[in-house]
């Protein structure tokens, strides 16, 4: 039976996970683009990403591009599965 995931259910984290789910599988999204699209500050986004990373739902990769730091984010297989289960649980509550 699908269960609500309390880590994902927090509003900002729900939006972060949804945004990453919008990309093709095995894709990575730039940290700045995500923050700008979701209208979240760097600090706020960073804190939520840390929670999601610790849960194993999101992978964070830091690198340098043209001598500037770049952070790429991707959703893990576990994160994808938990998100789908979470959505299923929400649908069940709604009776959809």
């Amino acid at each position: 039976m699908p269960e609500i995931d309390r880590i994902i259910h927090a509003p900002a984290r729900l939006r972060i996970m949804s945004a990453l789910m919008a990309l093709p599988p095995r894709s990575q999204l730039d940290f700045r683009t995500l923050g700008k699209s979701l209208d979240l500050t760097d600090g706020n986004l960073g804190a939520h990403l840390q929670t999601l990373e610790e849960a194993g739902y999101v992978k964070v990769e830091k690198s340098f591009q043209n001598r500037k730091p770049r952070t790429d984010l991707s959703i893990t297989a576990k994160g994808r599965a938990r998100f789908e289960e979470h959505v299923e649980a929400l649908r069940k509550i709604c009776g959809v």
Binding site: P11, S18, A19, P24, S27, D30, V87, I93, C94
Partner: protein, 205 residues
Amino acid sequence: METKEPAPITQDEARASLNEINRTIGQMRKAVAAKGAPLLIIWGIIWIIGFGCLQFFPGVSGPVWMVLDIVGVAASFLIGPWSRNSPVKSPLHGRMGLSWLILFAYGVIWLELLVPWGVLHHGGWAAHSLLMGRKFAAFSATLCMFAYVIMGLWLDRYIMWLGVFVTIATLLGYLFLPNYFFLWLAITGGGALAGTGLFVRKFWR
């Protein structure tokens, strides 16, 4: 010490969460599409200039198209979704870039078979044969749009519909407006590419 159980999620809350998920997914797809809009605008302008030149100055259109193609390919490498600066990195993008190169090679092979290079090279093929010029243009335009349709099936449906629209417009112009075919392609094809790019850039940010 007793740990507090989280309150159960109500139907309204669950519905609001589902709406938020759908809204965010749509918003993210549009934001990513908006990053690719400049490339559409550039190719739209290239079509407007190139086909406009074919209509009004056919004698010089060969070299003009060569320069425009170089500019377009360079821009595609620099700002396309497969470029290093793209906000989204996907294994799909590398394959997409490779598919465009293969399609380009395929187009060159077939054009060489249909219209030998010598005819293209000496004095402007469009000036020599208007019919051949129209066939050449219709083939090139629909080949590009075929790639848009396939790309749209994988990435975003708006690219697919753009490809379908320009393909239909190309065929209609070829069949019913032979004397103004290049101008028609500049307006409908170039206009659709640039117009879609401008729309996506302005409203899908």
